[in-house]
Amino acid sequence: MLSHVAKISRRRFALLAGTAGVVPLPAAGAEPLTAEAAVRRIQNELGGDWPAAGPDGFKAGDPTTVVKGIVTTAMASLDVLKQAVRANANLVITYEPTFYGRADGRAPAVPAGGRGPGGFGADDPVVKAKREFIEKNGLAIFRLRDHWQARKENDMVSGLAGALGWSNRRVKSDDAFYDIPAASAEETVTLIRSKLGLRGGLRAVGDKNATVRRVLLHPGSMTPATMWQRYSEVDMIIAGEVREWENTHYAADIFTAGEKRVLVTIGRVVSEEPGMRACAEWLKTVLKEVPSTWIGAGDPYWRPTT
């Protein structure tokens, strides 16, 4: 707790000092926790630089809002925000953007070659409706990506392993290899679908009949260079997403070459959900005075059945 104390205001310090040895409770007269104070505590705890131009920061709402409860999520979709309101939470910590792109409602539209203007403007009806919902319900939205994934414990990987039931199967603490109970690739894919509650988002490339023992977990996007380096070290890669003309193409060629491996993509957001669930657990230790819960955005995809 000393590290927080050192960085909070003198007034707050005096309040805390006056209750030394007592569990800090939101007692009458204590300064209420605002969203910006909560974020400062998170920033102090995680350390590092927090440049204004980086992805992490407030994206919507009033930072002076008094926090009733915190929700973490991989993606602050409107459905997640609705659930947060129902859960009486008003500070939402999201790993991915809120406003449909890297600019996250901040920058003007940027042209993207051949694809029309980038981002969605302030006049867009969905952007407007989402902003109105946030305002009406007094929510504050903070994006926490870079600093959460940079944390040395990297719960993005261990969280995903936990969700798949493989927590005690990690090969080395500093790598993302897991040695899992041997099963066919097809059986392993069925297990992943069921453990993560997937609908249509999972796609697999490679040898269905491969025996899977060693798995590499890679939440988020995987680059081609990582794929080339690591695919031959494992039986299966489980990633969030890849580019199909790069990594998927590589996995298809490895299959043609006769190697018994499988590349499974489960969806970027789905792959990041368990890590944000872990974030809610961590917040309970950092911000004890308010409840923190995780709300899943879910697998967004379905497939036609006929």
Binding site: P55, M75, S77, L78, D79, K82, E96, P97, Y100, G101, R102, A112, G114, R115, G116, P117, G118, G119, F120, D124, P125, V126, A129, K130, R145, G200, G201, R203, A204, V205, K208, P224, A225, M227, W228, G240, E241, R243, E244, W245, E246, T248, H249, Y250, A251, A252, D253, T256, A257, G267, R268, V269, A297, P300, Y301, W302, R303, P304, T305, T306
Partner: protein, 259 residues
Amino acid sequence: MTGREVVNLIQKNVGVPWNERSYRDTFKLGNPDSTVKGIATTVMTTFDMLKRAHGAGLNMVISHEDTFWNDRDDTKDLTANPLYKLKTEYVLKNDMMVWRIHDHMHAMKPDFTVVASLRSVGVKGGESAVMAPRIYTIPETTLGEFAAQVKRGTGSRAFRCVGDPKARVSKILLGPGYATPRMTAEADVVIGGEQQEADGGFDDVEYVLDATSLGMPKGLIMLGHVISEQPGMQDLANWMRTFIHDIPIQFVPAEEPFW
């Protein structure tokens, strides 16, 4: 005729100024001065596709996408990679060559990738479509019924949809490959090949989820890169036959990679 001469003929007929600075539209592998016995057009130079082209006696592959698993076909980090060696040796041993046509296909009028993708999903009126997306109107249907029509038309196993299957839709906005368009106020359904799921230029997945949550009838159909741009390579083969008569030209599909 050599590979280089085939490319010269394409450059003469393509109808747009040739951009010599395109890093994509170049020879990737093999000897451009080898004699062409037959031409295979394909969306992606997969190892499997190369084998089928060779089996059919076609030694020049004209591919829309890359050969070495990265957009620039940069091979400096691959020289010790066993798969790189295997694929390269297969092409060289069989006197094959690979040339890519990507940027110029998307500059052509029409853009065959868009024309054929529209046709494959059953949207009419796209015969002169270009890369810049525009809205096509179909008879009103539900997103679920339209997705089923897309499945029948493309034969895809693994394409993904976002949105309410019961949403009533009629305005379609389609882009090829990675050029999945941004959803607009006017469009009901965006169709593309692939798109970064979040934190990209524009995140259609989250946008369609939120529009759906607001009760707006919006849908997203991600065909997959191969399924999206593959049909255009059949059209490219047909077009090439109008000015190359002495060499067999065949469309050799890359398989949809997903199970």
